[in-house]
């Protein structure tokens, strides 16, 4: 107890120095925590809109489809849909057929991706369809209605209500065409999507290739993304009865998005690392100064019979206190910053393009943080540990002085 008290008092002997050091540590903790929480929130948003338009949190494919995107790898999904939808935590199961095709109007032709969907289910989930009114969505799975990307509409030089033709390779080897009518227009903000998306009913898409009744993908949307692992296990068990079919998580189904997040976070971590390195050097400096100043005092303490170990422990206790105090203040400030970023967010609309695509999703210019308390306490713990680590050298140095030397020191 005496040690703790003494260490605390020592800490405040040079108040300005301690406060500046404290500020440096606390400031970096705040910064790292707030930046992490901000990314955490932004990534969560990207993943959410990414999986809803893409593979879902969990996707079910025929084996090898994911790697080859070979259209012949489809499977019959009807029973699976109901079975998977019954699993707790599953919000929706979206059946999809992906058919590369050629779209032709009377003037132009373009390469497109025809996606066969279940219109009702799809509309409730897919963010691309959010702006569509109920009657501009495909009406039935076998209708000739199509929802089409805005740029594609423009390039084909057609208007809503007008007809166009899509041609694709039928299973029997011939080219098969279907007449479609523009029902709704999608404006996702992504050039690739807006320039090549055609969404039609599942049955109509099946007619193109002769794969009626089957799907390429079951996109499983979860109510809460944290359930991903448990639901994936359940889905895997369920489809074990269907050989040749696999269930994968979104990281595998959408490597572009997963890697975009990975790369972004890695570069951020590098910056975090530099900050912590600089702060640690600063802490070593401060502690070392405080030891050098007290050489004479340490000499006296040793001369009075204290053991070098006691001195070392005292210096490390000082560092620990400094670290804990800084971690507390830093986490408080970090929480405050996070609270602001959750509540208000940062509006980057002035700096980034209106529709910025990153990793296959549209980047929301209003960045909002989201709480990650586990990580926040982890970083607070790390920094306290770093402070303690920084005290090793000064502590060893203090333990090495002989009483005579120390007392002679000015």
């Amino acid at each position: 107890m005496d040690h703790l008290f003494l260490a605390w008092k020592n800490l405040w002997r040079n108040r300005r120095r301690t406060i500046i050091t404290l500020a440096a540590i606390a400031f970096s903790i705040m910064l790292v925590q707030a930046a992490h929480n901000l990314s955490y929130g932004v990534y969560a948003g990207m993943v959410d809109s990414g999986v809803r338009a893409g593979s879902g949190h969990i996707a079910v494919y025929r084996q090898n489809y994911l790697e080859s995107r070979d259209e012949t790898l489809h499977f019959t999904g009807r029973n699976l849909i109901t079975e998977i939808a019954a699993i707790a935590g599953v919000e929706e199961v979206l059946p999809r057929l992906y058919i590369p095709a050629l779209a032709q109007s009377s003037r132009e032709s373009r390469g497109v991706m025809v996606i066969g969907v279940d219109p009702q289910r799809e509309r409730g989930i897919n963010p691309f369809l959010k702006a569509l009114t109920a009657d501009s969505m495909v009406r039935a799975t076998d209708s000739r209605d199509a929802v089409i990307g805005v740029r594609l509409l423009d390039e084909l030089q057609i208007k809503p209500g007008q007809k166009f033709v899509v041609t694709a390779q039928h299973q029997d080897g011939t080219l098969h065409s279907e007449l479609l009518r523009v029902r709704g227009v999608v404006k996702s903000g992504m050039k690739d999507i807006d320039g090549s998306l055609i969404m039609v009913g599942l049955e109509r898409a099946g007619l193109l290739t002769g794969s009626s009744g089957s799907v390429h993908e079951l996109s499983v949307i979860l109510a809460n993304s944290n359930d991903e692992e448990t639901v994936l296990d359940q889905v895997s068990t369920l489809i074990a009865a269907h050989p040749g079919i696999e269930a994968v998580n979104w990281e595998r189904a959408m490597p572009n998005l997963a890697n975009a997040i990975k790369l972004d976070y890695a570069s951020q971590k590098f910056i975090f690392l530099i900050i912590l390195l600089i702060v640690t050097i600063g802490v070593i400096n401060t502690l070392l100064m405080s030891v050098m100043e007290r050489m004479r005092e340490f000499g006296v303490i040793l001369a009075l019979g204290s053991k070098p170990m006691t001195l070392r422990i005292m210096i490390m206790t000082e560092a620990l206190m400094l670290g804990l105090l800084a971690a507390t203040i830093g986490t408080l400030l970090g929480s405050l910053a996070t609270w602001y970023l959750v509540d208000r967010g940062i509006d980057l609309a002035a700096f980034v393009p209106e529709t910025l695509e990153f990793g296959g999703v549209v980047f929301d210019p209003i960045m909002r943080a989201s709480w990650d308390p586990v990580w926040m306490s982890k970083i607070a713990g790390y920094v306290t540990g770093l402070t303690l680590l920084a005290s090793l050298y000064p502590a060893i140095k203090a333990g090495r002085i002989t009483p005579v030397e120390g007392m002679r020191h000015h």
Binding site: I20, P100, L102, E108, D154, D192, I274, I278, M289, E357
Partner: protein
């Protein structure tokens, strides 16, 4: 005299100065490295869109780039327009005809974008010839020789020598189709190009599309891509009516904005990092000033002006900043050079990532950019000065009588 005094003062507590210095060097050097790598990513991204596809400057009919209208074509003679030929900044020009259609072979067919090109010219504009993984760049004499992307080759299980059928809409309203022979396969790492881009000789495509002597655009490459916008403005008035020259920034507005926004994010990263460093410098100089209270008192008692004391302390921080800067820039440049020459390959960890209309390749690779050195350098000096200001002020405000009494 003040200068040598400041320099000597710096080394009175060598350990402290060295530690502070190391923090400054670390922050500056690693920052320069990080910025160099970020710039490298942007360069890859820009190159994926320009040097592998668009070129830096594109001449076409107005609005062609928005709708890719089949009928918005030009005479092939425009390639040799004097305004283009007499511009030394333009290194190469390639006439292109573009067609969208379906490529099929037996049981598989894929939608593709087919560019009709003259190989000799196209090779100077885009860098695909350096990305060939099988076969060779088709020659004009091959007539119907095609070069396809690796992704397309994998999907359709194609290799050089294989025959394909290309189906598209022709200008006379008919359905054009003709045989193509795969001559080469390229891999850029950009999934869009690799999965759907096909190059074939211009005369062959002109036949298929029934557009003899016509092209859609002239793609050009510049000595300095950053001057593209300026160049587009300069060329515009000298070109025939019903044509438009667009810089890559106009074709890829989101990429232009992202690159512009990079300047802002660079500033933010630098500021944040240096705030932490600045607090360290502030601490060191406060300590060093406090230690010398008595000394300053004596100097003042002997007639040194407060202004001179202030300058002394500020000079010390500036010296420290200057030394940190020299070492930091040197180390930063060294690391950047290493990352430029060697780099780190990430292909085993991640796949290419699409960003703002381009592709970030799975590699860490740095480029030298003046601003990546100037911004950290300038900010480091500024931070040193600001961090030195408070202690300097304190030293200058000392009352000699009180100060000399200090123990």
């Amino acid at each position: 005299m003040l200068l040598s005094l400041a320099f000597r003062n710096l080394w009175r507590n060598r350990r402290r100065t060295l530690l502070t210095l190391s923090a400054m060097v670390v922050s500056a050097a690693l920052l320069i490295l990080a910025l160099g790598v970020f710039s490298g990513m942007f360069k890859d991204m820009l190159a994926s869109a320009t040097e592998q596809y668009y070129g830096h400057l594109v001449l076409a009919q107005p609005e062609y780039h928005l709708r890719r209208d089949l009928f918005a074509n030009l005479s092939v003679d425009i390639v040799n327009h004097p305004a283009l030929m007499n511009e030394p900044e333009i290194l190469a020009r390639s006439p292109r005809l573009r067609s969208f259609g379906l490529l099929s072979r037996q049981l598989s067919s894929q939608p593709v974008e087919l560019l009709g090109i003259i190989p000799e010219f196209e090779q100077q504009v885009t860098s695909l010839r350096n990305k060939i993984t099988a076969g060779y760049y088709p020659k004009l004499e091959d007539r119907n020789g095609a070069m396809i992307g690796q992704g397309l080759a994998n999907k359709m299980k194609l290799k050089p020598g294989d025959e394909l059928v290309f189906v598209t809409q022709a200008a006379d309203g008919s359905i054009g189709n003709d045989l193509l022979i795969v001559r080469g396969v390229f891999a850029t790492g950009d999934s869009r190009n690799d999965n759907s881009l096909v190059l074939a000789p211009l005369p062959w495509l002109q036949d298929v599309m029934v557009l003899p002597g016509r092209i859609h655009e002239v793609a050009m490459i510049l000595a300095n891509p950053m001057l593209a916008a300026e160049m587009a403005d300069r060329l515009g008035p000298n070109l025939p009516e019903n044509t438009e020259v667009l810089a890559w920034g106009d074709l890829l507005p989101e990429m232009r904005e992202v690159i512009a926004a990079y300047g802002v994010s660079r500033m933010i990263i630098v500021t944040i990092l240096y705030l932490a460093t600045g607090l360290g410098i502030l601490n060191t100089f406060f300590m060093s000033v406090m230690e010398r209270t008595r000394e300053f008192g004596i100097l003042m008692a002997q007639g040194m002006r407060p202004m001179a004391i202030r300058s002394l302390v500020l000079l010390e921080t500036l010296f420290l900043g200057g030394i940190a800067l020299t070492i930091g820039l040197f180390c930063g440049a060294l690391m950047t050079l290493y990352m430029q020459q060697v780099g780190i390959d990430l292909t085993t960890y991640i796949t290419p990532i699409t960003y703002a209309g381009g592709t970030i390749l799975p590699r860490l690779h740095a480029v030298f950019e003046v601003a990546n050195f100037l911004v950290p350098a300038g900010m480091l000096l500024l931070v040193s000065l600001i961090a030195g200001f408070l202690p300097a002020n304190r030293a200058a405000r000392l009352d000699p009588v009180v100060a000399v009494r200090e123990d």
